[in-house]
Symmetry: C2
Subunit: 186 residues, 2 copies
């Protein structure tokens, strides 16, 4: 079994994050993934929408793994989450801001055109909030943990969008600072 399919999904996932759905062409996906042209519709008979939905979910799973791994390193929830933001900033700098918000672009731009993609984005947000919620539940009651996890995710996603357009880590720094204040006291 070849890794062609996997390479297509990975590259699509990456391009969607940076360029959105309509901004990413099948040609570019095929070219940059060094993948046979004919394979795309072999693996994804329903075309672009099917491929994009899988790529979005794939990114979601990747994020969950990453977040879970980072949060597992530090016991205290507030410190662990701060560490998560610090790592996001380091990655941003390391990759020179050529990394975007996980799904915000596609979410805004394709939710209107495709219910399939809207649901995929929605699912990713739900999925990604889980490890945050679990971590916070060690200190807060379930309702509070859930609400906080959602708010933190929103702040991080928004900060990544702003970081992307400003080519700067400042928005993430600001969120990190806010979260420190916030989690200290609530």
């Amino acid at each position: 079994m070849s890794d062609t399919r996997d390479r297509i999904v990975k590259k699509t996932s990456e391009l969607l994050m940076l360029q959105g759905y309509h901004g990413t062409g099948l040609n570019q996906i095929v070219a940059e993934s060094n993948t046979p042209r004919g394979s795309l519709y072999y693996y994804f008979p329903n075309g672009k929408e099917e491929l994009a939905a899988e790529a979005i979910r794939n990114r979601g799973e990747g994020m969950v793994e990453h977040i879970r791994a980072v949060l597992a390193q530090i016991d205290e929830p507030k410190e662990a989450i701060n560490q998560l933001v610090q790592i996001m900033m380091a990655n941003l700098l390391k990759r020179n801001f050529t990394t975007g918000a996980p799904v915000a672009g596609v979410a805004m731009e394709a939710s209107n055109a495709s219910e399939v993609l809207r649901e995929a984005c929605h699912d990713v947000y739900n999925l990604v909030s889980l490890p945050l919620k679990e971590k916070l539940a060690k200190v807060y009651d379930e309702e509070k943990a859930d609400s906080l996890a959602t708010a933190i995710l929103a702040a991080l996603e928004g900060a990544l969008v702003m970081a992307y357009t400003s080519r700067s880590a400042r928005p993430l720094e600001a969120v990190a600072e806010m979260l420190k204040d916030c989690l200290d006291k609530s």
Copy 2:
């Protein structure tokens, strides 16, 4: 002087928010703005990019006005900002989640393809954070006010993206709650 140009910009601004740059066609803009086909390139000789840049800035100015007006109604910064979020939620519900994040979609999807649009989005984020910063500066020192304004903007923008995909006001509720905790203490 006709209002044709203005109608084009307004409709573009609205569609960009919901569908992003690549997801919004010139055909749709002309059709839905009930605008003469031939006028588009008369007013915007440089085509879609020029039009989009102006539409983005136009939305930014509209947001600044709106935010300034809302924040002016309540003296205490923390309460005023909470009121702002409540109004955003009410608008979301009233319009049945057919309203998106101001610029997140375009920001993620077009920043890569066009430096002009990237700057437009960047400018909007800067502009919009100003009234927040000013309000917060009544209670915090300037550096703290600036950082908080940026973080709040990020949280709101992210929450709007999540609200858009989930067709729910919950993300905004969560942010409202977080901000209340946060601004209480910091």
